[in-house]
């Protein structure tokens, strides 16, 4: 027989132990580059 299921278990943080700081930094860098390029092209368009 298997173990009996635990009922009324307290809330468990399923992200515990997962470190996404590197991913956040990576997404931030890509986003920053996209924003700089977008505004660069737009300002070039407006200035010409």
């Amino acid at each position: 027989m298997g173990e009996p299921q635990k009922k009324n278990q307290a809330h468990v943080d399923e992200h515990e132990g997962i470190d996404l700081r590197g991913t956040l930094f990576g997404v931030g860098v890509v986003g920053f580059v996209i924003i700089i390029m977008w505004f660069g092209v737009w300002s070039l368009f407006l200035s010409r």
């Binding site: 399923e14 992200h15 956040l24 200035s47 010409r48």
Partner: protein, 160 residues
């Protein structure tokens, strides 16, 4: 749905950026009047020279600091209304550019400005541009059109 705190941050960041970009594109198009080149008007490519717009190509003043520029492209030449192939435009003038081709597809790019169109037989390509900066600009064909493609050019002089 249980999401990681950092996932919430970059979803918010991405959505906000998209919203800002779309808002600016909307302002640029509807408030500032920036539009892409149009080629909605058609004509018979064999009778271009009989068309009212292209009988006498060149620059014509149509209003207060407002001009109509018509140019006929053909292999391998831009007919700008004078043999020197030089057009003088006052700085700050609003210019409605209309052009077409009598033979094959040509490009129409005034390098250093936002004027960049494709000329297709049977269509009139139009674009309105305000020349804000004085200087000499080159009109070039940027669609390969044949052995003399590199010879297709004209000069736009924006003067004070």
């Amino acid at each position: 749905m249980n999401m990681h705190k950092y996932e919430k941050i970059w979803i918010f960041f991405g959505s906000a950026t998209l919203l800002v970009f779309l808002t600016l594109v909307g302002i640029s198009a509807f408030y500032m009047g920036n539009k892409p080149p149009s080629c909605a008007v058609t004509l018979d490519p064999e009778t271009v020279r009989e068309h009212a717009l292209f009988k006498e190509p060149g620059l014509k003043e149509i209003g207060d600091n407002e001009y109509q520029l018509t140019i006929v492209a053909s292999a391998f030449d831009y007919d700008v209304g004078n043999p020197e192939k030089v057009i003088e435009i006052p700085k700050g003038a609003k210019v409605h550019v209309s052009s077409t081709t009598t033979d094959v597809i040509h490009g129409f790019e005034i390098a250093g400005t936002n004027v960049n169109m494709m000329l297709e037989p049977g269509y009139i390509s139009t674009y309105t541009n305000t020349f804000k900066n004085a200087g000499t600009y080159t009109l070039v064909c940027n669609e390969y059109c044949g052995v003399g493609h590199h010879l297709m050019s004209a000069t736009i002089e924006v003067v004070e």
